[in-house]
Symmetry: C3
């Protein structure tokens, strides 16, 4: 039996790769305990800019597990970026082994 | 406070890499607003074909966020592919910042 | 209509890349029907060792879909690894097309 599963919110941010530095800075500002970055390709109308581009873009997927309050603040901080950049973010409740 | 989180269904499709073109065509047919593709390795009995192969395969993971009705139709469209190809797909409700 | 969606638990393990062999062995021991491996970068205090390292690490993300009982046993088996390695794991209920 796993007696002590931790509860948290998995936040996934998918955006243009050149936003990586800015997004990592943002996560650092929120003092997240860790994050994972995965290179990705994307297409579609996710955000304004991506809709302008034909074919694939070079994207990144950044994941972090935080508490619910941080999730809300983090998503709020991402909103202004969506005005000018292809960026989506979503949250999911998870439980498991993490800080 | 994030007043306006959008509700949606995250659909994740994991399959053999050579299915990428066909899967993207399918997503385009469903007029998804965007999708993300991540290269992956896989092993196991996911689907018929993957069970035949020893060791790793070159796979892709494709993610898209759609509404519940599209999810159902999309999964239904994927079912025939499972007969001959290593493919899994699953859905999760998410909320966040996306179209 | 998708009449027959399967229920399962998506287990995501994120850890240092050199743990890949050991983690795959563990999954094999649990006779999982399949798994997906994605290369990733990570940073932060996820686990003891990662906190010691400045900057990025080479990580892997391993995903598998299992039943609830296997999830519990799998997470329990991962706990000892967390003592000496940067490793997180979390579970999410999913439904879809998989064995």
């Amino acid at each position: 039996m796993v007696a002590t599963l931790t509860q948290g919110v998995l936040v996934t941010i998918i955006g243009e790769a050149f936003l990586q530095y800015r997004l990592v800075n943002l996560l650092t500002k929120f003092k997240v305990s860790g994050y994972t970055i995965i290179p990705a390709q994307g297409a579609g109308s996710h955000g304004k800019r991506m809709g302008d581009v034909a074919g694939y873009n070079t994207n990144i997927e950044i994941k972090t597990i935080v508490d619910l309050e941080t999730t809300t603040q983090l998503l709020e901080s991402l909103k202004p970026l969506q005005a000018n950049h292809a960026l989506i973010a979503f949250q999911q409740k998870v439980e498991g082994l993490f800080d």
